[in-house]
């Protein structure tokens, strides 16, 4: 079914189709309409799920952690400071290997308060062991929410589905609602490895020692470091799992085919722009314009941010003259986090491209297509590397 609705509604429809059993959430702008839509779906019995209106984001994720530990498919959503308030539980969910899915409706972090979009919230949580996927439009939001459960339950790790506050969350766009039967074919019912059960008692997440230790049957159980190593290797494996999930999704729904980075006029491009979220779609207008002027340029929209698909990125950027990274986040005192990751991915390749970093749109600062056009055009012409100095676009000092 094709409808025209807000991005938050697309996310809610994805949650419903995925057969989520427990939803816990606390309202925060611009995530709130998603929470409201889910409570509406549950209250009207269109969705058969437990909806827990908790008193904080910390509790929202705690409810999901426990529900998932007890064998139920669990979902929550948040933005900005709500995500930061969850930080402890983010590490816990990943460490406990729980396939929870959470929508992060990206918003700038306070202080000072802003309700507008940038990517600082999710990117500041990149080292919590969560998989992070970024969406460009409403179709991707609903599709990615469904795929996120498939990925999470394959690798037993939680997934953040990130999309831009207001730009996507509150705007209306047409999108296709997948058929319920097809979704069930794609995503079978959740079968946990282990769940809380009085018939088969176990103590979950108890204190662990640094060294491996034998259990009562003499089997060696991993120490803390082995458990961490396993999470890391499984997240590295998630790169392939994401590709496989995308292939399976395409077979059933006909959409997808670019699981890591979406390419727009990149095949023959001398210069490529890399960015995330809705910005990569806005950048397409710039590419169209510059192509008309004969500039050989394309844009990559990164979809999988953690684990970082380094090989795919290095392959995509290999042999380019210029790589221009535009991002809405900053590692204060250094540079954009995506920029650092891209440089790291390029290390070891033979033909290092010139590379530059542009920081823009922080706290919802307007991103004018004209300014993007100017920045890309100038950078392509200048053809110079600025490996550690980000340029700020739209800054008014």
């Amino acid at each position: 079914m094709h409808i025209i609705e807000a991005g938050n509604v697309a996310a809610a429809m994805g949650v419903k189709l995925a057969g989520v059993q427990v939803v816990a959430a606390y309202p925060i702008t611009p995530q709130t309409p998603l929470t409201e839509k889910l409570s509406e779906l549950v209250d009207s019995r269109e969705m058969d799920a437990q909806y827990i209106p908790v008193e904080s984001e910390h509790s929202a994720l705690s409810v999901c952690i426990a529900a998932s530990s007890a064998g139920s498919r669990a979902f929550t959503a948040t933005s900005a400071n709500g995500l930061l308030y969850m930080n402890e539980q983010l590490h816990w969910a990943a460490g406990a290997r729980l396939p929870i899915v959470m929508c992060v409706v990206n918003r700038g972090i306070g202080a000072p308060w802003t309700v507008w979009n940038d990517h600082q919230d999710a990117m500041s949580q990149r080292d919590t062991g969560w998989i992070q996927l970024y969406c460009c439009d409403h179709q991707q939001i609903i599709d990615t929410v469904i795929q996120a459960f498939a990925i999470a339950e394959t690798v037993r790790a939680p997934v953040m589905v990130c999309y831009d506050g207001y730009i996507l969350s509150h705007t209306y766009m047409p999108f296709d609602i997948p058929d319920q039967a097809d979704v069930e074919k794609f995503l079978p019912a959740f079968t946990p490895d282990w769940a809380l059960n009085p018939q088969c008692p176990a103590n979950l997440n108890t204190v662990t020692l640094p060294e491996p230790r034998a259990d009562v049957r003499g089997n060696t159980a991993p120490g803390y470091m082995e458990i961490r190593h396993n999470l890391h290797t499984d997240l590295r494996r998630t790169i392939d799992v994401t590709a496989d999930t995308d292939t399976k999704f395409k077979d059933i729904f006909g959409r997808g085919g670019q699981p890591f980075i979406e390419s727009y006029f990149c095949d023959d491009a001398e210069h490529v722009v890399v960015c995330m979220g809705s910005l990569s779609y806005q950048m397409r207008d710039v590419i169209d314009e510059l192509r008309k002027e004969g500039v050989s340029v394309g844009v990559y929209g990164l979809r999988l941010y953690r684990p970082f698909p380094d090989r795919a990125v290095a392959e995509a950027l290999d042999g380019r003259k210029n790589v221009l990274v535009f991002e809405k986040a900053l590692s204060y005192g250094y540079e954009g986090p995506l920029f650092s990751d891209i440089k790291a991915a390029l290390y070891g390749t033979d033909s290092l491209p010139k590379i530059r970093n542009f920081i823009l749109g922080l706290g919802g600062r307007e991103i004018r297509t004209r300014a993007l056009y100017q920045a890309v055009k100038t950078a392509c012409n200048e053809n110079q590397s600025k490996p550690h100095e980000p340029d700020f676009i739209g800054l008014k000092l």
Binding site: Q21, A24, S59, S62, V63, A66, W92, N197, P201
Partner: protein, 303 residues
């Protein structure tokens, strides 16, 4: 109250705590935990934050408990219990008893917000707070329920200046149907309260006074004796608040109309009260006397 009281003769024999756990010698929690799990029964799921109980239960991959247990972060106990309940409803297993079991720090301080939220939402679970009156697991630091003048490692010279936070009263203010206090020195009274709590829908809160030899500074063999003294001096009272109706129970009920032991007798048994002078003792005695004068009035139906 027509409910039959449990005695040592009809207490269930099945044990849910393995012998040889990691609790300290003389641990009051050991008594309470052993008894409480008997009352909760086999078809239960526990939720436990960091606390001495996490230590008692043992280190991965070995556990001292025979009930399924989810260890959670310090602030999240009641929210996690909510999550387990939600999963049980989603899986059509509403008969599973969910019990959260936290220490006084995890209840009165960092966990209070989640507990308040769960009580307000009316979650159908039992929250048991074992109150050993400090952060014992991390080495005896003051908590919200540490009594006034007690020496801890964060109140090392002059003792805690503030009074003990009255958590049962805070929880009762949520208007939930069952709030009770109990003591490790009276395990059967505690057992009966847990059993009663199981029969009441919605949130239930039981606050258990739990003597701690290492933290309080007394010999491990006196745990029960000291727990009893806290009750006999009227410092810690056993009561139930059912649908708002308050009544003293067990040993505390029997003390109505009788002379209580002076609080000084309790203070002298433990190193943690070393910093108290006569003036402080008398002021606390006056507080206890005033509190009990109120109980006498309630018992006589005056207010």
């Amino acid at each position: 109250m027509a409910t039959k009281k449990t005695t040592i003769l009809n207490l269930p024999e099945e044990e849910y705590v393995h012998p040889g756990n990691r609790a300290c010698a003389g641990c009051g929690l050991s008594i309470v935990y052993k008894t409480g799990l008997k009352a909760l029964g086999r078809d239960s799921i526990l939720v436990v934050p960091p606390s001495c109980l996490t230590v008692l239960q043992g280190l991965y991959p070995i556990a001292a408990t025979q009930l399924p247990c989810l260890n959670v972060t310090f602030a999240s106990t009641a929210a996690a219990a909510t999550g387990v309940l939600a999963a049980m409803r989603a899986q059509k297993r509403p008969d599973v008893q969910v019990a959260a079991w936290a220490g006084d720090g995890g209840t009165s301080d960092i966990g209070l917000q989640a507990l308040s939220g769960a009580c307000e939402r009316g979650e159908d679970f039992i929250f048991i707070c074992y109150d050993n009156e400090a952060y014992m697991n991390t080495g005896v630091q003051r908590s919200g329920t540490t009594p006034q003048h007690v020496l801890t490692t964060t109140t090392p010279f002059t003792g805690k200046h503030q009074r003990k936070k009255d958590v049962p009263a805070i929880i009762a203010a949520h208007g939930i149907d069952y709030v009770a206090t109990a003591s490790a020195a009276y395990p059967l009274d505690f057992y009966d309260k847990v059993v009663k709590a199981k029969s009441i829908p919605g949130p239930k809160y039981i606050h258990v006074h739990t003597p701690c030899p290492a933290g309080w500074g007394f010999s491990p063999r006196y745990t029960v004796k000291i727990g009893r003294m806290a009750v006999e001096t009227g410092l810690f009272d056993l009561y139930e608040r059912e649908k708002g109706q308050f009544r003293l129970t067990g040993a505390s009920e029997k003390m109505l109309g009788k002379k209580r032991k002076p609080v000084a007798e309790y203070f002298i048994t433990q190193n943690r009260f070393k910093g108290m002078d006569e003036e402080k003792i008398q002021s606390l005695q006056a507080e206890v006397d005033e509190k009990w004068a109120g109980y006498e009035k309630i018992a006589q139906g005056v207010c």
